[in-house]
């Protein structure tokens, strides 16, 4: 009788350890070696790892041991179906983000105007890149000497940034109020009258 109770408790403890082991392996960014795991789980970790491996073997995710560490990986045989898009996400250059932002806020805007706002020359590649991604497109020509091309943003731009319309972009003052535009040192900021309201109380910092 007593033995049975002990068995049930033991089984429960075992399941608890198995679950924790599963979670630790899942959440870790690097493979975990058996010694580290034993420190959290106990000496029986070797058996538990084998049990987990067997459980996951037929599934879409498998537990593998690589270079002395254990980790979950998607099943090898699914690789062709998972690797559909080879390109890894990249960070957009600062110049490109700025150019995109200026087009969004000042459209329709010519390349010359973008350059005068940024204060540096815009490489042709930047506009090409933004256009390739479907964020901007050429607008009407400006009716000024040389009839320069203007640039505007696309619907895909709104889509990508989760905006319903261009009107929903925060205005300059709203950017300032939200803390995204702060050009002056704190003390000098007191002189500004435009955002007086934001300065009403200093007790919130």
């Amino acid at each position: 009788m007593i033995k049975e109770v002990t068995d049930a408790q033991e089984a429960e403890a075992r399941i608890g350890k198995l679950r924790l082991l599963e979670a630790l392996l899942f959440a870790s960014s690097d493979p975990l070696d058996e010694e580290t795991l034993a420190g959290r789980i106990g000496p029986e970790v070797g058996l538990l790892l084998e049990e987990l491996r067997a459980h996951y073997a037929p599934r879409g995710v498998t537990l593998v041991c690589t270079g002395g560490g254990w980790a979950f990986r998607t099943a090898v045989d699914l690789a062709p179906e998972l690797r559909r898009e080879e390109e890894v996400s990249r960070k957009l250059s600062r110049a490109a983000i700025e150019t995109l932002a200026i087009i969004a806020y000042h459209q329709p805007v010519t390349r010359g105007e973008i350059e005068s706002i940024r204060g540096v020359a815009t490489s042709k590649g930047t506009l090409d890149l933004l256009m390739e991604h479907g964020w901007i497109r050429p607008g009407k020509r400006r009716e000024t000497p040389g009839r320069p091309l203007t640039w505007i943003t696309t619907d895909h731009f709104l889509d990508h940034f989760g905006l319903e319309s261009l009107r929903d972009l925060p205005s300059v003052d709203e950017l300032r109020a939200a803390g995204l535009l702060d050009s002056r040192p704190v003390l000098l900021g007191l002189g500004a009258t435009a955002d007086d309201s934001a300065l009403d109380t200093g007790d919130e910092t």
């Binding site: 979670a23 899942f26 959440a27 870790s28 960014s29 690097d30 980790a71 979950f72 990986r73 998607t74 998972l82 690797r83 559909r84 898009e85 390109e87 890894v88 996400s89 990249r90 960070k91 957009l92 600062r94 983000i97 700025e98 995109l100 932002a101 200026i102 969004a104 806020y105 706002i117 940024r118 204060g119 991604h133 479907g134 990508h160 940034f161 989760g162 905006l163 972009l169 925060p170 300059v172 950017l175 300032r176 995204l180 535009l181 702060d182 050009s183 002056r184 000098l188 900021g189 007191l190 002189g191 500004a192 009258t193 007086d196 300065l199 009403d200 109380t201 200093g202 007790d203 919130e204």
Partner: protein, 277 residues
């Protein structure tokens, strides 16, 4: 804080002593504005917020602000606005209702009670929200994601925050390039001392401090408030130098100023500006 308020009746000089004032300042720094402070005072009543005595609360707040002003003259304008509003509310609750369109004292009290309940509710749910197991702290995503780029149609990872920050930084660079220093249009105390000194000669009798303030500056904005603060500080400075006399009937009553003839020796008149008695 309750102790602090209870103790004030006994001995006002004790409050002015170092430890008590420091304590008061500490208490003040812990508040997120006047409504937050009212809520804290309201909790001290130890009743459900729906059954709180607004009148009692108003009294507590006014006492608190009066004490606070003794140790911290530059008490934020918000606190004074709230004090003025509560004083008005008190008079509306205690005096017979006047004829007119204005909301009744009862309505005003109910509105304040609602605001306190709403703020209390928000503080409560904020706590509940942050008591939940959170992603990256107690709950974890896959630690080693295998980037498949299933969802993103674009290979470039750029968020609205990135975009807005880029624009903000670019604007900021531009602004700091064009206007190097924003004009600081605040009254300094030196300026106020100079101004008062020149005006006092022409004002032989008692006059309210307000009448010395520069007029026509437009709006009750930062500049006007800074002028009030600077002139107030200037009168204290001048009083200390024996060049003016100050008089005030009670807490929040108008402050009167009178120039003092140079060399006059009838010395003990200079009353404490912040005296409530």
């Amino acid at each position: 804080m309750a102790d602090l308020l209870a103790g004030r009746e006994a001995d006002t000089s004790a409050i002015a002593e170092g430890s008590a004032s420091e304590q008061l300042l500490l208490v003040l720094d812990g508040f997120e504005g006047p409504l937050d402070m009212l809520l804290a005072l309201g909790r001290d009543q130890k009743v459900d917020l729906t059954r709180i005595s607004i009148l009692e609360l108003a009294d507590q707040y006014l006492r608190f602000v009066a004490e606070a002003r003794k140790v911290r003259l530059e008490l934020a304008a918000d606190y004074l606005v709230m004090a003025a509003w509560l004083a008005y509310l008190k008079s509306r609750l205690l005096l017979p209702e006047p004829e007119g369109e204005e909301p009744s004292g009862e309505d005003m009290a109910a509105a304040l009670a609602f605001q306190l309940q709403r703020l209390e509710a928000m503080k409560g749910v904020a706590e509940k929200l942050f008591a939940r197991p959170r992603l990256g702290i107690e709950i974890h995503p896959r630690g080693a994601p295998e980037d498949l780029d299933l969802r993103r149609k674009s290979v470039y990872e750029v968020t609205l925050f990135d975009l807005l920050r880029a624009y903000g930084q670019q604007r900021a660079r531009k602004e700091s390039g064009v206007l190097h220093i924003a004009p600081v249009r605040l009254y300094s105390m030196e300026e106020a001392v100079r101004r008062l000194s020149s005006l006092l000669g022409r004002m032989p009798d008692w006059a309210t401090l307000a009448s010395f303030l520069p007029g026509g500056e437009g709006g009750g904005g930062l500049l006007t408030r800074s002028a009030l603060a600077a002139h107030f500080a200037a009168t204290l400075e001048l009083a200390k130098a024996g060049r003016v006399e100050l008089r005030q009937e009670g807490a929040f009553a108008p402050l009167y100023v009178r120039g003092r003839a140079a060399g006059s020796q009838d010395g003990d008149i200079s009353e404490e500006a912040q005296s409530n008695d």
